[in-house]
């Protein structure tokens, strides 16, 4: 049984409310930080913990915090990114729904560390009911003296607000989020300047994911060193994984980083194996924007080593034979699923969510979606497959924000590993007309023959 740091008390009765949360050791980190530590000491603990951003990019949080510019007389802001919209990711929602106070506590401790006196939680529009939960939790925190003026008599002031977004995936990109928070159109900004220098209202700002901020709580409580003991190498601590797809037990799991992927999928502690006794066909380990892996690369790397649930191991092999941990949206496909249809579905999402600011993404996402739709319907031709690869290549890396990459990677990876399935769609339009064609004739990934020297 792996250690849990965030979801330790998630099944305690009434943990949503302040009383139960406090009774189970809640707000200890605020007491400890504000009374016994300086802000820099808190940052130091976070650095020591090796915590990496849980939103997808995996950037070391302590380092991000230490980049924050601190000019005199200019306010600093901490913004929590709760605009969780990546298909396949729902861990933040679960955390905020079940234990809203851990986010509030993390926000207070982190704001103290960064010297922010006003902090925001930007939550996606579709989570409106979660925003209500958070607002209740904030009201309880104010009522019990954890927010407001002169917290715990230390002279530290903090106001915390929840802002609901309009429901756009792009507003999860940190600069688009800041634009939206300022009341403007949610277009990503051109970097530099980075938010650490000029973010919200032109002031230095740190934007962190919900899970990252929640993880500050155990780090401050137990110390960064203790946190760093969990995990392997540069992947320390625990991570929430949103497991979905054709598995026996979909849900949100807190894992210690370093758990073998095989154990995660097949052990009863986690996903409990593939549903209905089928075979696994593919896996998207980190949310819709990371490259898809065929069955033979899910549990083992190309070199034949066990693949682990860490940032490094999942990306082993680069984009040729690896993927990314991303935001932890773990989607498993069984042998009956159609990868072409799945890729089209992802592509449709990115087409719909592109902000339209820069041309490769605005035009390219729609183009890819249309070609994929044509292939999916059995109306494509062989040259479409190479066209998709080329269009994906021309979007990737050439856009303002990472949405272009996120749209291009899944398409490129699906064709890289499942080209035969795309070809099947071109060659057998009669067979694939039925969306459930995979049930009659499963198409499994083809492992390339090892090249012998």
């Amino acid at each position: 049984m792996g250690r849990k740091l965030l979801l330790t008390h998630d099944h305690v009765e009434g943990i949503q409310g302040y009383t139960a949360y406090r009774a189970n050791g809640g707000y200890r980190s605020v007491e400890k930080a504000l009374k016994k530590m300086t802000p820099d000491e808190v940052v130091e603990e976070v650095k020591k913990s090796g915590l990496r951003g849980r939103g997808g990019a995996g950037f070391p949080t302590g380092m991000k915090w230490s980049f924050l510019a601190k000019p005199d007389g200019v306010p600093r802001y901490l913004v929590c990114n709760a605009d969780e919209s990546e298909p396949g990711t729902f861990k933040d929602r679960y955390l905020m729904e079940r234990i809203p106070h851990i986010l509030i506590e993390g926000m207070i401790t982190s704001s103290y560390a960064l010297g922010a006196n006003t902090s925001y939680i930007y939550i996606r529009g579709e989570y409106f009911y979660v925003a209500r939960i958070l607002e209740n939790a904030i009201a309880e925190a104010y009522a019990n003296g954890w927010l407001g003026k002169n917290i715990l008599g230390t002279g530290y002031n903090l106001d915390l607000y929840v802002q609901v977004g309009g429901g756009a995936y792009i507003c999860g990109e940190e600069t688009a989020l800041l634009e939206s928070l300022e009341g403007k159109r949610g277009n990503p900004r051109i970097k530099p300047p980075f938010p650490a220098v000029a973010g919200l209202y032109g002031c230095p700002t740190v934007v962190n994911n919900v899970e990252t901020i929640a993880a500050v709580v155990p780090i401050v409580n137990d110390g960064g060193d203790e946190y760093a003991k969990i995990g392997i190498g540069r992947s320390t601590g625990t991570k929430l994984i949103s497991a979905s797809g054709n598995i026996n037990k979909p849900g949100v799991y807190e894992i210690e980083l370093g758990v073998p992927v095989e154990e995660f999928i097949f052990s009863d502690e986690y996903c409990g194996g593939i549903a209905n006794g089928k075979r696994m066909k593919a896996c998207v380990p980190g949310g819709s924007s990371v490259p898809i892996l065929p069955d033979y690369l899910v549990c083992k790397t190309a070199a034949g080593e066990d693949r682990l649930m860490t940032y490094e191991s999942l990306s082993d092999g680069g984009f040729v034979s690896g993927s990314m941990l991303g935001s932890g949206g773990f989607i498993v496909y069984d042998e009956h699923q159609c990868i072409v249809r799945n890729t089209w579905n992802f592509s449709r999402f990115y087409h719909h969510e592109s902000c339209g600011q820069c041309s490769p993404c605005r035009e390219g996402t729609g183009w890819m979606e249309r070609v994929l739709h044509r292939l999916e319907k059995g109306e494509g031709n062989m040259s479409d497959i190479d066209l998709l690869v080329d269009v994906a290549k021309k979007i990737e890396g050439n856009t303002i924000c990472p949405l272009g990459d996120a749209a291009a990677w899944p398409v490129a990876a699906a064709i890289r590993h499942f080209r035969h399935e795309f070809e099947y769609h071109v060659l057998h339009p009669d067979k694939i007309k039925d969306p459930k064609h995979g049930h009659r004739e499963p198409i499994m990934p083809v492992k390339p023959e090892p090249v012998t020297a």
Binding site: R185, S354, G356, C358, E363, K394, N398
Partner: protein, 323 residues
């Protein structure tokens, strides 16, 4: 302040701190300057959207020589001392730019034969230099519901490449912007949202900054192709603007008035709507002389004694030239 040294395509220049790669490249000359569709020197925060000016930074600076991991928009990346940049000398850049041009064209109507911008259209030049001869896009091109934005300016949304220049003109030049970009992604469009006329004394500059034929002059609409007209520098006393403009003449008649554009297609000085739309009589203007036009421009084909060139079929060319 000490000058910063930057090398672009092997050519070195020293520029003031704060200059962007694009500005430095323009200082070196047109041989190394990347094309720009959305950047406009006179408009703050413009640039970064169209991605045609992407370049490769092979050396970040003298202090930190690491190359930049991705291609960068040269219009929004400031020069560091000792920076080395590849533009036309990098295949990666050329390839990426071709991709961007293709993206810009897939939904463009290519209605140049009936477009007033033809002949002075940046997208025409760009696709002539970087585009394919055939489109790979086989789907219906997008269309928009037509909206009327007033009696002086014609909006053709299908031709728009969303460079945001006109939005910035309205933001920075006129009080109270009434138009902007609505909707998102592929269906994002320039619009006034609630039917509203774009009406103020400097709105006409939106026409000058538009790199394509999305915003054209209604008072000049379908009057003439630009290359049949003779551009003449002229000025008048104006209490609102500098009054320095170009009048486009056919014989003795003034067909239209525009701002004076430099080598990069950017106006030197903004002009007001009175000068642009109302003053079309030769007596309104003091002529300074014919405007210098790049001899490669189609506008230069019709006058100043340049010889008419006929397009030859390959068979009719001397064999020497072919080999």
């Amino acid at each position: 302040m000490s000058l910063l040294k930057v090398t672009i395509d092997g050519k070195t220049i020293e520029v003031e701190p704060g200059k962007t790669i694009l500005q430095a490249a323009r200082q070196i000359g047109p041989d190394v300057a990347p094309p720009a569709m959305c950047y406009y020197t006179k408009l703050k925060t413009s640039g970064g959207y169209c991605r045609t000016c992407l370049v490769k930074v092979t050396k970040g600076s003298e202090k930190d020589p690491r190359p930049m991991p991705k291609l960068v928009a040269s219009c929004r990346t400031t020069v560091m001392d000792g920076m080395e940049v590849q533009n036309y000398s990098s295949d990666e850049v050329v390839e990426a730019r071709k991709g961007v041009v293709e993206f810009l064209l897939i939904n463009h109507p290519l209605d140049c034969p009936i477009c007033d911008q033809a002949g002075e259209c940046h997208l025409q030049d760009l696709s002539y230099e970087n585009g394919r001869s055939k489109s790979r896009y086989e789907f219906k091109r997008r269309t928009f519901e037509k909206i009327d934005i007033g009696e002086k300016i014609q909006l053709h949304m299908t031709r728009c490449i969303l460079c945001y220049r006109c939005v910035k003109v309205a933001d920075q030049l006129t009080p109270g912007r009434v138009h902007g970009v609505i909707n998102r992604g592929e269906v994002a469009e320039i619009s006034t949202y609630i039917q509203n006329a774009v009406d103020n004394e400097f709105s006409g500059n939106m026409i000058d900054v538009c790199p394509v034929g999305a915003l054209t002059d209604k008072t000049f609409r379908f009057k003439s192709r630009v290359w049949f007209l003779k551009p003449v520098d002229a000025h008048r006393d104006c209490d609102q603007c500098s009054g320095k403009a170009v009048v486009w003449k056919y014989g003795n008649e003034i067909y239209r008035v525009t701002g004076r554009k430099d080598q990069w297609g950017e106006v030197d000085e903004w002009i007001c709507n009175t000068c642009r739309f109302e003053k079309k009589s030769p007596s309104d203007w003091v002529e300074e002389g014919p405007r210098k036009i790049n001899r490669h421009s189609v506008i230069a084909q019709n006058h100043y004694g340049s010889k008419t060139r006929f397009v030859a079929s390959p068979e009719s060319l001397p064999q020497k030239q072919l080999s």
